[in-house]
Amino acid sequence: MLRQVEGSRAVAETVARCRPDVVAAYPISPQTHIVEALSDLVAEGRAGRCRFLMVESEFGAMSACIGASAAGGRAYTATASQGLLFMAEALPNASGLRLPIVMTVANRALGAPINIWNDHSDAMSQRDAGWIQLFAASNQEAVDLHVQAFAVAESLHVPVMVNMDGFVLTHAVEAIDVPDQEQVDALLPPFRPLHVLDPEHPVTIGAMVGPEAFTEVKYLEARRQLRALDVVGEVAERFHDVTGRRSGGLTSSYRLEDADVVLVGLGSLLGTAADVVDELRDQGMAVGLLGVSCFRPWPFEVRDTLARASRVVVLNRAVSVGAGTVLGGDVRLTLAGTPVVVHDVVSGLGGRPVTRDLLRRLLTDAAEGRLSDHELVFADLDESLAARALESELDHEEVGP
């Protein structure tokens, strides 16, 4: 049933319906409303038998989830930005131990300078942590992805991160359909752990592995991630069967038929981008949009779609300093050997809005050959401010001995 509700609240209600055993949380903006709501839901008895652990840090939150999951429980936490980095040590530990924890990341910039607003530098920084990473384009999708995340995680025994844009989604009140308990139960059977701390069957979990077997463990982990490319799609199909709603999957396509210039992006900017695509199509431009819902594992199948375009504009809300962007790199690798021109573009850092004007200009510039395809484009840079600062920086720089 559609009702007006804040994104965070809707996610919290959905998580509660996923019947978690333990929610561990440490507050950080813009994740706070999710865990506040979960605290209430648990206290009100509306989250079943769930225990709510108020831990002392994000490192503690992920660690408590590791323990909760290894003890056979369904575990959930949420964080953002610095918090994600503070638990970074525990992320590959959770995936390496094959614990299907689900975590919301309310995407936010990384400091310094400290900035609480939305971009994707937090999630991108953890792309190699062995977690499946899903990105929500809307609050409805954020809600739906949480149910799917538990299903994907527990089918592969791999943890899943659900990314939703901080503030833009977490704090937006809009019409959302929170899946009801029956639907969630239909998609999410009781959790069956791979290995569990049990006095009846004592096992050693987390042994030390040396050079004789470490490579094989990592190979299996890589293979498992690639299996997720099938499972993510299968779960999205089952979700559609149960709810009648299309959400998730590996990618979303918008007006890609005969598109000459394709915009690739992820997160909430996809809504704005679709509007711009409509506008430019009305003006006769052959543009289209490819949204990445599943960022890790990377959906290499986009090659077939993207290879039909002549230009691809990859829009990132994160910079891989010194090397372009993560998403841009992934797309270039995917299109290696094709004549498609790839434009690697950064915009929307630290909460700067990605506007229709900006997207319109980007696509038009790309179509008319005015957009660089060999160096990283900072699309919404205040060039005069940056030039002044750069000049002064170079003045004070000492070069050489």
Binding site: D21, A24, L53, A64, G67, G73, L197
Partner: protein, 331 residues
């Protein structure tokens, strides 16, 4: 327990054969759990291996085998689980170095949610994983009063990484990062922390210290702790032949001298108040304890540092006075 007068070793410790069978240690029982089996890769004379065996077997008995364990990174983890081998016969989970307490909290919460909270949770770490890198998570577990017994095996340094100083290393000790070079006489005075006292400040239901020199006392404390709920802390002094430069045959002897010199106070506290202390039967000079250890050898050479030894003696004297450790003193 039978009051035994065994003045020759200066302690109340007694061999099992002198005791009534009902008073003998868990280790003397054929039915002990053997929580950590022989064949692991600890050094000869390892105090931590001994401590862990005694603690876990006692905890297994106290919980009727309904127990799971969480282990921090460190010697105990490394020497017990080189893949594909494991020395553990209890459910055992190792995650990271600094998070054993939080992992254990998560295990306890999960078991409660699942209605399996008859299963008890014991977490183990060395002093690095407890007093330094693990203190944040540990303090969280303490203040939330999570239902976990956390055991610190204190060998007073980062022995697994090659004997570097930790926040539990005593003053004047030589470690790989506090070598007595230049004007430095080992680890600096006025540094380090007492985790048992910090734990008491959290007003935990149970805090205690013990050593591997008195296994009856150690087992009794484990059983007491396992009979209680909430956050409980046990700090066990475990000499390290490698890091302390002691003979591997002297592990128990060195631990005993740490107690008998007043250098390591043995006590038990409930709800933040000391309720019992391990009395010193026959006090020995701190120098007797220090001399057996190569990490203090620089204090005794030529010219040596008698002033530093005197300062360490004063430390022990303060500890003896603070806890009322001498027999006949009011506690």
């Amino acid at each position: 327990m039978t009051e035994l007068k065994l003045y020759q070793v200066g302690t109340f410790a007694a061999g099992n054969r002198l005791l009534d069978p009902s008073q003998r240690t868990e280790q003397s029982h054929a039915g002990r759990a053997n929580s950590i089996t022989s064949g692991h890769r600890a050094c000869r004379g390892c105090g931590e291996a001994l401590g862990a065996r005694v603690v876990l077997d006692a905890a297994m008995r106290a919980s009727a085998g309904r127990m799971v364990t969480v282990n921090a990174t460190g010697c105990l983890e490394v020497f017990s689980t080189p893949y594909p081998e494991s020395a553990w016969r209890v459910p055992w989970l190792h995650s990271l170095f600094g998070n054993a307490a939080a992992v254990a909290s998560g295990v306890a919460a999960s078991l409660q949610a699942q209605g399996r909270d008859d299963i008890r949770v014991v977490a183990q770490a060395g002093d690095g994983g407890t007093v330094d890198i693990g203190i944040g998570c540990l303090s969280g577990m303490f203040e939330r009063n999570d239902d976990v017994l956390f055991v610190c095996y204190d060998n007073q340094g980062y022995m697994n990484t090659g004997v570097q100083r930790s926040g539990a290393t005593p003053a004047a000790a030589s470690t790989a990062t506090t070598r007595p070079v230049g004007s430095r006489v080992g680890n600096a005075f006025g540094t380090g922390k007492s985790l048992p006292v910090i734990a008491m400040a959290h007003e935990l239901p149970f805090v205690a210290t013990a050593t591997v020199a008195d296994l009856h006392d150690l087992e009794r404390k484990v059983v007491t702790a396992m009979g209680m709920h909430g956050a409980r802390y046990l700090h066990v002094l475990v000499p390290c032949p490698l890091g302390w430069g002691t003979s591997s045959a002297d592990t128990v002897r060195v631990a005993r001298l740490a107690v008998e010199s007043g250098f390591f106070p043995v006590f038990e506290a409930h709800d933040g108040e000391v309720t019992d202390v391990g009395r010193i039967r026959r006090q020995v000079p701190v120098a007797d304890y220090l001399r057996l250890q190569a990490r203090f050898a620089h204090l005794f050479g030529e010219p040596g540092h008698p002033d530093v030894v005197a300062r360490l003696q004063r430390q022990a004297d303060r500890s003896i006075a603070h806890f009322g450790l001498l027999e006949g003193e009011p506690s």
